[in-house]
């Protein structure tokens, strides 16, 4: 790690104004991606501004058809929350599937969403649950927020305050773990709303995406059989030493069928 300065922010405004005057400073929340990056000397921020204890960024609340979760909420808190488990149990399940116990005790919702790792779990839920990402500057719809591998609509110095999930009728998540890293090699989140069903896929492609063919098919009939005839176009999917594009395309369909079956069983 290169030498840097650490600052524990006392308020959100202090944190954001510090970043506006120190362009090479970085927000630190759980640090589950940032700290390994620093350890490997792949990033060289001048300062880390720790926002992980700011009450303004915390909290879990269900109101008006929405589940609102503060950005610094840790994965284990989401997984264990009675509110989340009652309102969107699939989201609590997803949070429990992230990384390992140590990661879940440190990593945060806001950090994961802002980082937009193409193999992260949360982006699939944010997208499928038609969430709105509330920052210190504005609100961004999930459909506009994720912009491909590690890219989001966030601007410099902009920080996620909370995520407002739309509460579905039913939802389910199924994940195929990468054999080495345990990240989602493919994860599919399906959410059924009064207005239709949204299907979001993480891990398989360069960024989270909606599988619109599946959404259209499920609009006709919400059953695994509706997915059977679909062909997943593999040409835009990821390929590496662990899995081909064709294999990942297969996983998209298999995980979607399994998620849907789970949804129907709830």
């Amino acid at each position: 790690m290169f030498e840097l300065s650490y600052l524990k922010a006392k308020s959100l405004s202090e944190a954001t104004s510090f970043l506006s005057t120190h362009p090479e400073a970085k927000f630190l929340s759980g640090g589950m991606t940032l700290l390994p990056t620093l350890k490997q000397r792949l990033a060289r921020p001048t300062h880390l501004v720790d926002v992980s204890a700011l009450a303004e960024l915390g909290g879990i609340e269900a109101k008006g058809g929405q589940l609102v979760i503060g950005a610094i909420t840790k994965h284990y808190e989401v997984a264990a929350s009675a509110v989340v488990r009652k309102v969107i149990p699939a989201l609590a399940y997803l949070a429990h599937q992230i990384g390992d116990q140590q990661v879940r005790n440190r990593g945060t919702l806001g950090g994961s969403v802002a980082n937009n790792d193409p193999a992260a779990d949360y982006p699939s839920a944010v997208l499928a649950l038609n969430a709105r990402i509330v920052t210190n500057k504005r609100e961004i719809a999930a459909d506009e927020f994720f912009q491909g591998m590690f890219a989001t609509a966030l601007e410099d110095g902009e920080i996620i305050v909370r995520v407002q999930f739309e509460v579905p009728r039913r939802a389910a998540y199924e994940k195929f773990r990468h054999p080495a890293s345990g990240y989602a090699m493919t994860g599919v989140f399906i959410a059924e709303f009064d207005t239709g069903t949204r299907v979001a896929v993480t891990g398989a492609g360069p960024g989270v995406f909606r599988w619109t063919d599946a959404e259209a098919a499920l609009a006709k009939q919400l059953a695994p059989a509706s997915l059977e005839p679909l062909v997943v176009d593999h040409t835009n999917l990821n390929q590496d030493i662990h899995a081909s594009q064709e294999y990942r395309a297969n996983l998209v369909k298999v995980m979607a069928k399994r998620a849907l079956q789970k949804l129907l069983n709830t």
Binding site: M1, F2, E3, Q40, A180, Y247, V254
Partner: protein, 746 residues
């Protein structure tokens, strides 16, 4: 340590290149930097040639070609991760920072990161003295006898497999602290090792210094697996730094450095042919082994891949004619050293796959084909054509035990039940043997010493990295002496380095040092007997020793060994101290493992459904520790079977699996339960009757688990697959087989 400095290493990011120029001056100007070292310093010190633990000579009288390996690369780099320069600074972070300031220019050479690329016509040689990248060609067995036998065969089974290159990945990274003492002209090393003598010998050979100038301070180690059997360039580089600067110098490897530069394991490309008569009797077998040695030969790499493979090339089968030829091949990859089994799992893998293939080809039950060809109990000691001299074993007994415990006969029901849930179930078998117990030191020593309070300590030179010597060695002594286990203390790294013996490795700790524990105990009793007689005021001939007590034949007088030790505690050295020494021969542990797997055809994921091990590791000293060793070995093999694989990019020679994000490690849930039963046939090669056990799990689980996967897939028409059996590979194989079936149907 007081005054301690920190080293950081610049490592090559080129797989094969000439070093055109290097300027270390800017690094020297960085804050806190005390010195910078480069390849020219290594050359000047003469630290350029590592020893080999090999006395192999081939038919032409040739020995493995030892190419120079300056501890800091000089003029040329040959793998990504090779040391190029060393910065020594006041802090680890200052040393790291300064690495970026070193200016270096490379001129790339074509890189050959795989065996085939290194052997291809026109491949760029890595070393001037090895123009075809083969540092040694060797053969074992009788080529003519095999050539004579093959034409008469009713069937020839063939297989080509690779025992994949893997990264040892011990939990604890390498960490060295070297301190030069000018007054005595000695170096003190605080380092990990598998054994005192082996590391000291290697360092002495590398540096040209007498062994007594090298003082090793060794501690318990968090995993070794053979990876710590070698002296490393970092050891010698720190010696240069400490001597020049007059201060202790420390280095702790990062995990990333470990992936690149810790010695890797396995990496053998194998092809085998087995000739059988019409009844399935083996007539002859021949093998070809191309062993990936990486960029440089390591002390243990070449010997293990030759000796341990040849010793068990016939497996557990009578094969009248046998031949193998070997090439040790240099590649632009990390050097290969011993890795749990060091050739033993590799040969078991190819032999057993070949037997399975023959059984499938000839439609004979796999267990039955094995039984038909087992070396019978009447044939021991059995000398194979490639140099193995097997001691008495009961292969059929082991097989029967395993078949029964694993319910081999009832498998069809379990397969049918799995099919009803959409799963493909397979059962696999491996009947394997391995040669263990050899070591470089001609003998092992054990000292039993009493302190001023009469407390006993057992001293050994054999280091533990999880083998539990502190439990088992002391157990042997306590049982032999008839004293309480807690009466026997343990020390595996005495400061004076005077105890000799082999390190842990080759499944030999209990066989070698463990046996000497018993010999030392008997020597102690014999030595103490006259002292007891003196204490009891009777003639020594009137004393008998039993259950920890010296008893006089008449008069009811007695004194316990513990009490005698306390009584004599004032004298120094304690008169009951003993140093015992003995050497042991090879032992041949063997066993039959049976595993069942279930494959999800939709994802290609394999779950191990059951695993049973019947092992003959001779007389068992401590059952739970033997079981633990088998569990660990089976799991380590499972890692290689299902995913562990060090992959280099073919063009650039970059390591693609340089972190646990990309390098698979098995999780406990892969094999929920391992059941084990012992089938002990005492060894006659050592006083304990023990055979090695540390590597047997690994040796058996490679072929057994692959056998189970192939059994699940073969009915679908899937051809022979090879490790690693990743979900993606298995899924693709199923898809390809389905496509083939469709073509056939039309």
């Amino acid at each position: 340590m007081p005054g301690q400095l920190h080293a950081a290493f610049l490592r090559s990011d080129h797989a094969h290149a000439d070093i055109v120029s290097m300027n270390t001056a800017p690094a020297l100007a960085r804050p806190g930097v005390q010195a910078v070292f480069a390849g020219s310093d290594a050359r000047a010190a003469g630290y350029v040639r590592f020893p080999l633990m090999s006395n192999f000579i081939n038919r032409n009288g040739g020995a493995p070609i030892k190419s120079d390996r300056p501890v800091l690369a000089h003029g040329k780099v040959r793998f990504v991760g090779e040391l190029v320069a060393m910065v020594v600074a006041k802090s680890a972070s200052a040393a790291q920072d300064a690495l970026d300031a070193i200016e270096i220019e490379y001129r790339d050479l074509p890189a050959a990161a795989t065996i085939n690329d290194a052997l291809a016509k026109g491949a760029q040689p890595l070393h001037a003295g090895v123009p075809d990248n083969r540092s040694f060609i060797w053969e074992a067995g009788d080529a003519d006898a095999v050539a004579h036998a093959f034409p008469g065969a009713a069937h020839v089974a063939r297989i080509d497999v690779v025992s994949t290159r893997v990264v040892a990945s011990p939990m604890e990274p390498r960490a060295y602290l070297v301190s030069y003492d000018a007054a005595s002209d000695c170096y003190d090393f605080h380092t990990q090792a598998q054994g005192m003598a082996m590391l000291r010998w290697q360092l002495a050979q590398l540096t040209g210094l007498p062994e007594e100038k090298l003082r090793l301070h060794l501690y318990d180690v968090g995993g070794s697996f053979g990876q710590r059997s070698s002296a490393y360039p970092e050891h010698a580089a720190l010696m240069m730094a400490s001597k020049k600067l007059g201060r202790p110098v420390k280095w702790v490897s990062t995990r990333s450095e470990g992936f690149l530069s810790d010695a890797h394991g396995r990496g053998i490309q194998m092809s085998g042919q087995l000739a059988l008569d019409k009844d399935g009797n083996f007539l002859a077998a021949r093998y070809d082994f191309k062993c990936d040695m990486g960029a440089y030969l390591t002390p243990t790499g070449c010997s293990g891949h030759l000796r341990n493979v040849a010793a068990c090339m016939t497996g557990v089968y009578k094969t009248p004619a046998l031949y193998g030829d070997f090439s040790l091949v240099h590649t632009n990859a990390a050097p290969i050293a011993a890795y749990r089994g060091a050739g033993r799992p590799d040969i078991a893998y190819v032999v057993e796959r070949l037997v399975d293939k023959a059984a499938a080809d000839m439609n004979i039950d796999r267990a039955e084909l094995r039984r038909r060809n087992f070396i019978p109990m009447t044939a021991f000691p059995y000398t194979s054509m490639t140099g193995g001299v097997y001691e008495l074993s009961d292969f059929a007994g082991c097989l029967d035990k395993a078949l029964k415990a694993a319910d081999w006969a009832g498998f069809a029901h379990r397969r049918a039940a799995a099919a009803r849930t959409g799963k493909l179930r397979g059962i696999g078998i491996g009947t394997v043997i391995e040669g263990t117990g050899l070591g470089r030191s001609p003998s092992d020593q054990i000292a039993l010493e009493f302190d001023a309070q009469g407390k006993l300590t057992l001293c050994t030179a054999t280091l533990s990295s999880g083998q539990s010597h502190e439990t088992t060695f002391t157990q042997v002594v306590a049982q032999s002496l008839g004293v309480a286990h807690e009466f026997v203390g343990f020390c595996s790294s005495r400061r004076d380095n005077e105890i000799l013996g082999n390190g842990s490795g080759g499944s030999r700790s209990m066989v070698g040092a463990g046996s000497v524990c018993q010999i030392a105990s008997q020597k102690l009793i014999a030595q103490a007997l006259p002292l007891a007689a003196e204490a009891l005021e009777v003639e020594p001939s009137q004393i008998k020793f039993a259950h920890g007590v010296f008893n006089a034949n008449e008069g009811g007088k007695s004194i316990s060994l513990e009490a005698l030790a306390r009584r004599l505690a004032g004298t120094h050295p304690h008169p009951m101290n003993v140093l015992a020494e003995s050497s042991v021969g090879s032992t041949y542990p063997n066993g039959c493992h049976i595993a069942e797997v279930e494959i999800d055809p939709e994802t290609g994921v394999t779950q191990v459904a059951s695993y049973f091990a019947a092992d003959d590791c001779g007389v068992v000293i401590n059952h739970s520790i033997v079981e633990g060793q088998v569990h660990g070995g089976v799991m380590q093999g499972a890692g290689q079977v299902f995913g562990e694989h060090a992959v280099y990019d073919r063009g650039s020679g970059q390591l693609l699996t340089g972190s646990f994000n990309d390098y698979y490690m098995p999780r406990a849930g892969l094999i929920p339960e391992i059941r084990m039963d012992e089938h002990p046939v005492p060894s006659t090669a050592n006083v304990l009757g023990a055979k090695g056990v540390g590597e047997s799990g690994c040796t058996a689980s490679l072929p057994t688990l692959v056998s189970a996967v192939m059994d699940a897939l073969r009915p679908l028409g899937v051809p022979e697959l090879d490790m690693p059996l990743t979900p993606a590979k298995v899924w693709h194989a199923i898809q390809d087989a389905k496509a083939q079936q469709k073509v056939k149907a039309h």
